[in-house]
């Protein structure tokens, strides 16, 4: 038996072993979700602290003189939930090679998102109170405004996706951009449902 003991020589940085690492996309998604949970969690913590611990409003929530426009926000919720359906339609269409469906789905999603954001801005103007009027107003604008910022980011992503869809960048084999943008849009939708139920209804 020949005595050849060889431990594969390697110079430079260690060779890539993907199996020994967390997939970059998985790690990225988890880090992103974790950061968003912490961000929204901090706002919700302030909101519930104010609502449960702060007794300066005499046990009333919202404080006397403040009105939460639950009906308008409810219509806005329907708009946003509908936009998730159109987003899903767009993604399903490109998987089947239906580019017209993709384009129509993205345009509709973009329009519904814009409608949501514009409705929220108009609602802000009609509320009758501002950010500095009590802690209730601060937490109300904080939570809904934070979500509005996420909608704005989502709309920017959707706009890029739509332009790319009309330029023919996506195909049944290559539509990663639609998948990732869609996941973000659905996340924005989920967060709004939590915000709406918590801030407007309960």
């Amino acid at each position: 038996m020949s005595a050849v003991a060889d431990s594969h020589e390697h110079h430079g940085p260690p060779p890539i072993h993907y199996s020994s690492r967390v997939s970059p996309s998985v790690l990225g998604m988890f880090l992103f979700i974790a950061s968003e949970i912490m961000l929204f969690g901090s706002f919700f913590t302030v909101y519930f602290f104010d609502r449960v611990v702060n007794h300066s409003f005499g046990g009333h929530w919202p404080p006397p003189g403040f009105h939460r426009p639950a009906y308008v926000a409810g219509v806005n919720t329907l708009i946003l939930v509908t936009s998730s359906f159109t987003m899903h339609w767009a993604d399903s269409s490109i998987k089947k090679g239906n580019r017209a469906g993709l384009q129509a789905g993205l345009v509709l999603t973009l329009l519904l998102g814009l409608t949501f954001l514009l409705t929220q801005v108009i609602e802000y103007h009609r509320l009758g109170f501002n950010t500095g009027d009590t802690s209730f107003a601060s937490t109300f604008f904080g939570l809904t405004g934070l979500h509005g910022a996420h909608v704005f980011v989502g709309l920017s992503i959707l706009a890029v996706m739509t332009v790319r869809a009309f330029r023919g960048h996506f195909s049944p084999e290559q539509h990663h951009g639609v998948e990732i943008g869609g996941i973000y849009w659905h996340f924005v939708d989920v967060m709004w449902i939590v915000v709406y139920v918590t801030v407007y209804l309960l």
Binding site: A3, A5, D6, S19, E179, H186, F187
Partner: protein, 209 residues
């Protein structure tokens, strides 16, 4: 590990579940605050139970049978880490290769801490595994064993699977510390290897001083 939201379709289903979850809570709250609270608790406990039950029902591992090695060669895959240079392991290998045209591949998993694993910081772990491997190959050489070696994945089962793709062994030798001291035995590595790989598996216990 499985990412629960791997596609747009997964995320869309999550939206629908969220709508249903909060709709039921709101309906309960409209009836009475305590009903709403009860619905919230029931749905949340149910969701947690469902997630945990699904984790327990994961698909059984696929039994893998690597392509056979050349007929005139007997290949042995050795997976060991701290016990890689142990006398018991060397003795077992000498018995296995005696009178055969044998080829031995030693795989040293690059054991890493969970935090470093998640940060993909594995350089130190790989360096340490490489050092152990070099020392063990030298020990094998000193007793007349022919062996090759490589650093493998931090998960020993994954390391075996990786090696199967390139080495095609006829048998597998897993070396561990004795029961009570071995993390691998606690995690059932030997049982999992026997369950997953269609190969004769020998378990060697090494008592290190």
């Amino acid at each position: 590990m499985r990412n629960p939201v791997r596609s747009e379709a997964d995320a869309f289903r999550f939206v629908l579940l969220t709508v249903g979850y909060f709709a039921l809570i709101v309906i309960g709250s409209v009836i009475d605050v305590w009903v709403g609270l009860a619905v919230f608790v029931a749905l949340t406990v149910g969701a947690v139970w469902w997630v945990l039950a699904r984790r327990g029902r994961s698909a059984p591992p696929v039994r893998q049978a690597p392509a056979p090695s050349p007929p005139d060669e007997h290949r042995i895959l050795v997976v060991a880490n701290e016990t890689v240079g142990g006398a018991e392991l060397l003795e077992t290998l000498r018995g296995r290769v005696a009178g055969r045209n044998a080829r031995v591949l030693v795989v040293c998993p690059a054991l890493n801490s969970p935090l470093r694993h998640w940060a993909s910081d594995e350089d130190d772990a790989r360096d340490a595994a490489q050092a152990r491997l070099d020392a063990s190959l030298a020990a094998m050489r000193s007793v007349g064993l022919t062996a090759e070696g490589e650093v493998g994945d931090g998960d020993p089962i994954q390391a075996i699977e990786d090696a199967l793709r390139t080495f095609r062994p006829d048998e597998l030798v897993v070396s561990t510390h004795p029961p009570g001291r071995s993390h691998w035995l606690e995690r059932g590595v030997v049982e999992k290897a026997r369950e997953r790989f269609a190969l004769p598996v020998t378990h060697v216990t090494v008592e290190l001083p």
